[in-house]
Symmetry: C2
DNA sequence: AAGTAATATTGACAGTGTCAATATAAGCAT
DNA sequence: ATGCTTATATTGACACTGTCAATATTACTT
């Protein structure tokens, strides 16, 4: 039963990844409505019921896509870190900017990644859930690391993380599409310095 | 065509409100999945296609429900204001607590109210859209007012509003269900004081 | 080479949003 | 009051969706 690593094992190749890719594409082009098991199957060139062999229903595919989203998210933030100057504040600022840029660039995916409450995800299979949990921890870990230098007297790390995460996440959620904003919104770089960090 | 104000005008009475109520009930009991035109119609005791006379499709019903949600939201924040001490900081704190409590109490509705990007809402009818816009402005206005006293040298009001809104909204979105949190989350009252407000 | 497990297909079913055609009832003019 | 017009509700249909059971096909193991 153990798959050989490199070669395509079965009928399709590896359908699981293909379906996730198809789902990502549908999500970005057609919005949440377009993310459909049957459309994914069609895009991957298989029959409408083929996904059932890899995902325990639509919810599992969604969770798997969320996992992929969090990996992309982590990569984006880490790349921003790598390119930013190494001072703690520059690292934090670059990470937040990447956070917001990701939300703007992958609006639908970002919403999917964060919209779902816990109980909505029940029923997803173990593999998807595990992948998603790992990916979530990776993305949160990135933010956590850039917050760490700001741990000081009276400000424990958890408190600072939570504050920064809430601020950047709220900003990203509320103002990801500028068209929706009721008025002109100040840049995040004007807001972040108003946290008491040190 | 003008309706008399008090008496039920037609077959059902006023089906529009009944459908919104049904939608709210379905949302709270059965989650996002349960919000369905046909289920709303059944709950209101009409045929499956009756809603078409009041809503331009499912999206319009959703927008109307979002509007109702924002009205409830505004009421909750204003009630908290009324009960809190009148100092600016107490007012702000109470409003934020009410914000978070609403997100926790009406989790699914809260997500619906804020999840949808602009373009997903396209196609909703004018009445629903107008109601929702008014309700959004009302709820934002409440937050805006409690931020106003903190306008000071160098901090314009818009900047402060945006900061506070982002922080409380991010916190509410991320930690509305504690079960999902990766770790224990500090109370919001420990975070709010770390904004540079004055 | 044969057998077994994994994978994909086909067909079916209930549920969904939406549309067109029809029926019913309310409000208004005469 | 009577008839007309408009608003509202019903019925039936259609395509699309997720999901399941039965079957077929392929890959891996022995």
């Amino acid at each position: 039963m153990t798959k050989k690593n490199n070669t395509a094992p079965h009928h399709h190749g590896n359908l699981r990844e293909a379906l996730i890719n198809a789902g990502l594409e549908l999500l970005e082009t057609g919005g949440t409505q377009a993310l459909t098991l049957r459309k994914c199957a069609a895009l991957a060139g298989v029959s409408h019921a083929a996904p059932a062999n890899h995902f325990n229903g639509l919810i599992s595919l969604k969770v798997a896509i969320m996992a992929r989203g969090h990996f992309m998210f982590t990569e984006a933030m880490q790349q921003a870190n790598a390119q930013a100057e190494t001072s703690p504040w520059n690292q934090l600022n670059a990470t937040c900017e990447a956070y917001i840029t990701f939300a703007r660039t992958h609006k639908t995916l970002f919403h999917l990644m964060f919209q779902s409450g816990c109980e909505e995800l029940e029923g997803a299979d173990k593999q998807s859930m595990s992948e998603n949990q790992q990916a979530c921890e990776a993305s949160y870990g990135t933010l956590q690391q850039v917050c760490l230098p700001f741990e000081h007297t009276g400000n424990n790390a958890l408190n600072t993380e939570t504050m920064v995460w809430s601020l950047v996440h709220g900003y990203a959620m509320l103002f990801a599409d500028k068209d929706c904003a009721m008025q002109d919104v100040p840049e995040f770089s004007e807001i972040l310095p108003r946290l008491k960090l040190k």
